[in-house]
């Protein structure tokens, strides 16, 4: 019944499509629909339009409709809905961690199955390996990194000076973070805190921040196949304990959860001397800071560490071979060193390949603003963003566990054990699959 309705509607849509598409002619250009999300501030749609226009100029046979689709969640919903309806997109920029969901829906193709020439195969290997981790499944590449970020530490150099600390020596490990944080906390006459030592946001992307702590403590949170989590590993429990201790033991961070959206304003207003935030905020902090600020890698416990984040290119399965070739051409253009450099400068996102940092555009920019390179230097220590099958649920379990600890509702051990016990049955059936 449902199939009959779908068939009727799609045949109607096909007829309509023919009516409207006919004038374009059989020999007309290949048309590509591409959805893309924007998750940071700034006039980025304009930048995307410019990049796409540059591509169309070089490739007159291909017409690209780049469609802004809201945030990452919206973009995924729209792309999947377009797939179910008659008019699918050929490629999209979607959240890098959507890969398992897209594979489960059988929606995307592997780039290994499209590339043919040795040159194309070499292109697949031209990106930073840690940015490929989220786009690779069972040895095949499904996602090409585009708008990718990582977490860095922003610190207020004026506050460091005021506290008698060397403004060019930000904390490099957990002990220093706590010790320096104590010195950076400032009280008013009545004993109220005027400035905190450090703030790590814990709403919206709590799991992402937590991945940094866990990685620094030497433990990843999931396996590469996306069918197992390590939430209750002792090193993971210990890292949540440290996050909790920052506010409850060392008193350098406010208690309760810290809002992702207002943290930048807090930092720019001098309410905290140090914040952990995405590199995507770099340009905004640079433009808004009225004090001397610094950017550094996150501190280490057993090692340095940060997750990567952001969006990848995917090519959808419902495409003709010609469309796939055209889509890959477009992706290659947009990720080429020169364009990647332009994109990185305009946004604060990472340039995705070492070659992009060798372009003149990027070198000139880095010469004037050295902090643009901190995120890149941290890449060798980076790990994939939390992503598994059933990723929405599995991620929320961790988010809830973190927040329940930070708000004094549970101990790290109990909260993470409960999250692990709930995540395990969700993932079990994927372990035997294929």
């Amino acid at each position: 019944m449902k199939h009959a309705v779908t068939r009727i509607i799609s045949s109607m849509a096909a007829v309509l499509g023919l009516l409207f598409a006919a004038p374009a002619g059989a020999a007309g250009p290949i048309e590509l629909n591409m959805y893309y999300p924007i998750a940071v501030g700034g006039p980025l749609t304009k930048l995307v339009d410019e990049l796409v226009a540059g591509f169309e100029k070089e490739n007159p046979g291909i017409k690209v409709n780049a469609i802004y689709a809201g945030n990452y969640d919206d973009a995924r919903i729209k792309a999947l809905a377009a797939l179910k309806s008659g008019k699918p997109a050929q490629l999209s920029v979607l959240f890098s961690i959507d890969i398992y969901e897209l594979i489960e829906q059988d929606a995307i193709v592997a780039f290994d199955d499209i590339v043919k020439t040795p040159e194309e195969k070499a292109w697949l290997k031209s990106f930073y390996p840690s940015l490929m981790a989220n786009g690779t499944f069972k040895g095949k590449v499904y996602g090409i990194p585009f708008q990718r970020s990582t977490i860095v530490m922003y610190y207020n150099k004026d506050a460091f000076k005021e506290a008698g600390l060397d403004p060019n020596k930000p904390p490099s490990n957990w002990t220093e973070l706590a010790e320096m944080g104590k010195k950076l906390v400032k009280h008013d006459a009545a004993g109220n805190v005027q400035r905190w030592g450090v703030m790590v946001p814990s709403t919206g992307y709590a799991y992402w921040m937590f991945q940094a702590f866990a990685m620094q403590n030497g433990q990843v949170l999931m396996n590469a196949n996306g069918d197992k989590t390590y939430y209750d590993n002792p090193a993971v429990v210990q890292s949540l304990q440290y996050w909790y201790d920052l506010s409850h033991k060392y008193g350098v961070m406010p208690k309760g959860t810290i809002e992702w959206g207002t943290l930048r304003a807090d930092f720019l207003d001098g309410k905290t001397a140090i914040m952990w935030h995405t590199t995507g905020n770099l340009t905004a902090v640079k433009d808004g800071a009225k004090f001397d600020f610094g950017v550094s890698m996150l501190p280490a416990s057993k090692r340095r560490g940060s997750p990567t984040g952001g969006g990848n290119f995917y090519i959808f399965k419902k495409t003709t071979p010609e469309e796939r070739v055209a889509a890959m051409k477009l992706i290659r253009y947009l990720t080429a060193p020169e364009q990647a450099a332009k994109w990185s400068i305009g946004t604060g996102y990472l340039a995705t390949s070492p070659a992009a940092y060798e372009t003149k555009t990027m070198k000139d920019y880095v010469a004037g603003f050295p902090y643009a390179i901190v995120a890149r230097d941290q890449l060798p220590f980076s790990t994939a963003e939390l992503s598994t099958f059933q990723t929405g649920r599995v991620r929320k379990l961790l988010d809830d566990a973190i927040q329940s600890v930070l708000t004094d509702k549970a101990t790290p051990q109990a909260a993470l054990k409960a999250a692990q016990d709930q995540a395990d049955p969700l993932l079990r059936r994927y372990r035997s699959a294929k």
Binding site: G261, R393, D400, A433
Partner: protein
Amino acid sequence: MHRSLLVHVYGWLLLLPAAVLLIAFTHYPAIASLAQSFFSPKSALYPSQFVGLDNYATMAADPVFWKVLKNNVWFAVGTVPASIVIAITMALWVNGRIPGRGLVRMAYFTPTILPMIAVANIWLFFYSPDIGLIDQVLSNFGIRGHNWLGRPETVMGCLIVMTIWKEAGFFMIFYLAGLQAISPEFEEAATLEGAGRWHYFRRVVFPLLMPTTLFVLINAMINSFKLVDQLFILTKGGPDNASSLLLYYIYQVAFSFLDESYAATLTVVLLAILAVLAIGQYFLLEKHIHYQ
């Protein structure tokens, strides 16, 4: 005979446009949700199959479901009576002959015309610790550093206050219309009989406003279950689901977890709650209402 058939056809044709829209956008989705709630979610790896009441069993065992349901009840208890009392008070106030009446009415109504997303963005900064408006004001009295949205104890109260601020002006408009429909003769008669203002309000005005109150009550109740825009901006349901509401959870299940079946199951529950609320209010309040 022939003529009466024509009349019937004519009647049905008149009804058709509304019926098509109602069925397509209200009844069909409701029934489809009910049907879907008996199946497992569909994916390319695991096709959908009939699972009976499994989804309902999952729901009964889901602590987050019970938490958001409880939150929603508190949210309704916190917002509905307060909005109504404030709406009546404001309506009585701007119904009197006060200077700058138009301006005051407009001021009360302004929160209603602002989009919820914009309002939430403003209040996000109001509630922000230390730098926010509320903490700035409180700091004059030596009270500082409240992490309003970051503590489970305060976050729901914050949502309730903002929602009342947003909604009361809207309900005021209905009460204002209700007040103006009351004939001034009642007031003259009451004054002649020597009734005080409170007595007049309690015995005359309030009973005459009951149809409005029923309408507002149903709307406020329904709104408390269907208004969740603010959560996307303010808290995303956190910390640890302390501010999550049923409809927001449905959104998360459907579009973040991509589990259409479980979302359908939760939707069925939401529909049942709303139906019971609406029907119950009609039956309970019917005898207290005096339609003029």
